[in-house]
Structure formats: structure tokens, C-alpha cells
């Protein structure tokens, strides 16, 4: 059991939230791929193990994760969707409820094609994501 009380293994029935730190990562109706593109330095995408509700708790967690940076909302997607496109969700606390999406493509031989494949995966996550704004 993790300090947050969550199990170490992320279940298929859980949801994960990517906090929207750029207004360019969503529009009036949907989350864009940019919200799920992994960090180019560590090859991971940082997420929070939380669904769209309760909204106030999700917003509190955003402030814990981002400190001075303001989130516009979150893109929420099922862990089963993440796993269904060949990525894994690995718990990584602290901060509480934190996890990383891992398994992205990194090719030294053809980094641009690897980037393209990661874009496709990010788009598939965004396609299934729920936009939460506050």
C-alpha cells in the first residue's frame, strides 16, 4: 500500500488525470494530444490517479503537483485505455496519487519517427479523454 492509501499496482478500473497547464492543450469541447505528450527528457508522462470527480479534490491535487503554476483543468482517461495502447501506468509517490505513463517510443536511430509514434499514442489518449475545466 502506498502512502496515499492506493495500491501500488494501478488497476484497469482507475482513471488518471493529466493536468492542463497550457490553454493550447484543449479547446471548447475536447482535450488535444498535447496534453498527453511525454516529457522529452525522461520519456514519461506525469499523471494523477484521480477521476473527474470530486472536482475540488482534483483541483487540490493540481495545486499540490504544480505549486505556483496554474492548471486550467485536466484531461481524464481510463487506465484501461492507457494500457490498451501499449503504455503502462506506474505508481510513483510522492506526491500523493502520482503516477507515470511509461512505455513510449524512444529511438536513437530515428527520433523523429519515434516522436511521430508517440504523437499517435497521445492522440489516441486524447480521443478518449474527458475534458475537466475549472
Amino acid at each position: 500500500m502506498l502512502p496515499s492509501g492506493l495500491p501500488e499496482i494501478v488497476g484497469d478500473d482507475e482513471q488518471v488525470a493529466s493536468f492542463l497547464t497550457s490553454s493550447s492543450h484543449f479547446n471548447a469541447t475536447l482535450v488535444k494530444a498535447g496534453a498527453f505528450v511525454p516529457n522529452s527528457k525522461n520519456g514519461e508522462k506525469s499523471v494523477c490517479r484521480h477521476g473527474a470527480e470530486p472536482r475540488a479534490e482534483l483541483q487540490r491535487l493540481a495545486s499540490v503537483y504544480l505549486k505556483q503554476i496554474q492548471a486550467h483543468g485536466a484531461g481524464v482517461v481510463g487506465a484501461d485505455v492507457v494500457k490498451g495502447i501499449g503504455l503502462s501506468v506506474e505508481s510513483h509517490e510522492p506526491p500523493e496519487r502520482h503516477a507515470n505513463l511509461q512505455g513510449w517510443v524512444w529511438s536513437a536511430a530515428d527520433p523523429k519517427m519515434g516522436k511521430a509514434e508517440n504523437l499517435e499514442r497521445a492522440k489516441r489518449l486524447a480521443e478518449k479523454a474527458t475534458l475537466v475545466r475549472w
Partner: protein, 184 residues
């Protein structure tokens, strides 16, 4: 089924060179030199952009959106997770690319990639869209989804002509098929 494309599209054109570093004028304000420098660069780019309205029409709105994006993401760490600052050279390259987009095609929404590139999204619906990630290299990764179909690839852009493979994709996804025929 997923598809992978590797396309080379050669062109030349009006690629705008990166501006010289802003001068470090000493003003008696509480604004940091770094912020002032960034403001000067953005101001200069906006003036240049206003001068190009007559040449590029509606595309100018996209150019303006890119500079707004640059202003908002011009410092690293904007995502709280180590994101790179949006690169000015990437902004210039994205603008050069947009200027070669056939007028009959839809204009994209703009966004920022955590690696400092500019993202361009053509979104017909949640299930039909194309995304490019443009940096200064001239090699552009892209991916699309289309109601269960999907794919990714790379195209080359050297500033002259919009990559034909992308014209076809945009036309298919947004319904501008006449544009693809004219551009072919």
C-alpha cells in the same frame, strides 16, 4: 490499421530568419532584463506580423496565435514537469509552414509541445484529427486518427511548399477534397 509514412517533400521559399537578440536597454523598472528582452522580441515579431497582413490574410491570425503561445511558453518549466521553452526558431518554422498551406484548406489550431516545438492541430471531430509537431529541423513528425483508422509518419519541409502528403490528409480529414486535387 495503423499506417506509417515517410515522405520527403522538397521546397524553398520565404523562411524567415531568426531575429537578432534583443538589445539590453537599461530601464529603471522592476521588470527583469530577461522578461524585457522577451517582450521586445515579441513586440518586434508582432509588428512584423502586422506588416504581413496584406500578404497572408487569414493566416495572420494563426501567426498571431503562435506569438501569443511563444509569450506564454517562452520560459522552461511551464508545465511544472521540466518542459522546454517554446523555441523561437520553431515558431518561425511553423509560421513558414502555415504560409505555404493552400488557401483552400482549413487553418490549424496551434499548441505547444513539451519539447519546445509548435503543435498544429486540424480537428474535424474528437475522432478525426491530424497533429504535427514543428521544430526548426525541417523534419516534421505527424499523426492522425480517423474513426478507428490511424497512422503516423514524418515529412520534410524546407520552407517552399507545403508537404503534399499532409495536404491530402488535411483534405480528407476536413472534407476539403477539392483542395487536394488542385494541389496535387
Amino acid at each position: 490499421m495503423p499506417t506509417t509514412l515517410s515522405v520527403i517533400a522538397i521546397a524553398a521559399g520565404c523562411f524567415t530568419a531568426c531575429p537578432a537578440p534583443a538589445s539590453s536597454a537599461t530601464l529603471d523598472t522592476a521588470v527583469s532584463a530577461e522578461s524585457r528582452s522577451l517582450s521586445e522580441i515579441i513586440g518586434r515579431e508582432r509588428r512584423h506580423q502586422q506588416q504581413s497582413v496584406a500578404l497572408y490574410g487569414a493566416k495572420n491570425t494563426v501567426e498571431s496565435a503562435i506569438w501569443t503561445l511563444f509569450a506564454e511558453h517562452g520560459q522552461p518549466g511551464w508545465d511544472g514537469d521540466g518542459a522546454e521553452a517554446l523555441e523561437m526558431a520553431a515558431a518561425h518554422q511553423a509560421i513558414a509552414l502555415i504560409r505555404t498551406l493552400p488557401d483552400s484548406l482549413s487553418l490549424p489550431e496551434v499548441g505547444v509541445d513539451p519539447d519546445g516545438s509548435v503543435m498544429l492541430d486540424w480537428i474535424a471531430s474528437r475522432h478525426r484529427s491530424l497533429t504535427l509537431s514543428v521544430d526548426a529541423s525541417g523534419i516534421i513528425p505527424f499523426a492522425w486518427i480517423d474513426n478507428g483508422d490511424r497512422g503516423h509518419g514524418v515529412v520534410r519541409f524546407d520552407g517552399m511548399g507545403f508537404p503534399k502528403a499532409l495536404i491530402r490528409l488535411i483534405a480528407d480529414l476536413t472534407g476539403n477534397n477539392d483542395a487536394a486535387i488542385r494541389a496535387a
